[in-house]
Amino acid sequence: MITVENLHKSFGNNHVLKGISTTFDQGKTNLIIGQSGSGKTVFLKCLLGLFEPEEGQICYNGQYYSELSLKERRDLRQEMGMVFQGSALFDSMTVEGNVMFPLDMFTKQSRSEMQDRVNFVLKRVNLIDAHKKYPSEISGGMKKRVAIARAIVMNPKYLFCDEPNSGLDPKTAILIDNLILEITEEYNITTVINTHDMNSVMEIGEKIIFLKDGHKEWEGTNKEIFKTDNKAVTDFVYSSELFKKVRQMYLEERN
């Protein structure tokens, strides 16, 4: 579980995060949603420890990040997995090399042990024939799978995903969403996903945090989000014609 208390982050005069407090539950997919520029990526990077907040605390399973020594922070980083928006696979390495990289870097496992683990996670994300291919030789959906495999190869306690569906067709996007959901439940991971894809919200939004101008505007589940009367949330959720119709049907039903 991750607890965030009154988080503030600025860049010069630009106050991006303005006192966010929330919790991300273990074994659940927690979604951060909001319009572009609402502070989602900065919030995610603060959670990852890539940005140091000016004020506030982040607590990982009872450990306050600001109170950890450099070594403890490094150890904590190894308990985190991250799926980047563009997958961020290392171009010079094969699929297998990319997934093996964290094991090679941080464990003392033998070559065969690492190979077994890599084969296992690649099979888990349904990638069987791509071991020796380079990132430039595989599709966008396959790259996301490799990124997920690399993120979970070290058995992380926390999984962070930045727009995991961006650039994917709707069918592949659903497959990736479901894969993240399955992995979260299977390994009991605290998963935090940064997205503005409403399909993801409907599919896997077990807990949703809506950000607006650096504030937490709303918090709830994917069932509650369609019933809320918060104007900022409804404006965001029902920005597409399809969802507007769904909303209209719901309101008619309620009245």
Binding site: L48, R77, M82, F84, A88, L89, D91, P102, D104, M105
Partner: protein, 261 residues
Amino acid sequence: MRTILLFLSTQDQIEYMNYLEAIGKYFIMIWEVFKKPTKWPIMKSLILKEIDELIYGSMGIIIFISFFIGGVVTIQTALNLNSPFLPKSLIGFATRQSVILEFAPTFTSIIMAGKVGSYITSSIGTMRVTEQIDALEVMGVNSLNYLVFPKIIAMLLYPFAVAIAMFVGIWGGWTAAIFGGYAPSGEFIKGLQLDFDAFHVTYAFIKTFFFAFIIATLPSYHGFYMRGGALEVGKASTTAFVWTSVVIIVLNYLLTQLLLG
């Protein structure tokens, strides 16, 4: 410092402070490169890969340029020594001095700043743009050590490349002298041996070590701290080449004054 700033416009003051900030950031980067080292078996393979890419991969262009520069130096010296009282051996002497003192270490380094420097900036810059550096950081890897340290170590072999450039440059000069009919072989070789000072070679190698460090680190700095997309990667490569060349030329002056002046 404050007096200097008072004479500058606000815009110039900002630019001046930006340059100072960049210099400070560069030295902090150098410090970070040597902290929290990557596991040796991984680092070893990275170093070997960089030696192949930066040194071995540059040998072709170094040999090609050195041969022809040596030839041109010989021809120009010969054409300027037209007095019958001056011995032909001076052509060999001037070629040796020019190639060893300046053309092999400095001219080759400027070429390397373009070839190797732009490769370093664009490869690290692309990693920045595609979030590969962020991925390393999230995993807890010291990305500066992982990316820049192997390049610095690989560039320690650069003096060997310059030694080859010296040999090939002089050979190019000898070839031009013989086939162009500017000096007989014996006279040219006599000139090569004339008044030889071994410290001149040492001076050239000392310079080369400094240049190698600059070629490995300055383009890395421009790639690592770049922001933006593909267009900015191209701009960063150009900026890196310009600044690497400027620093090499200024360092060349300072080291020459210190070691030979």
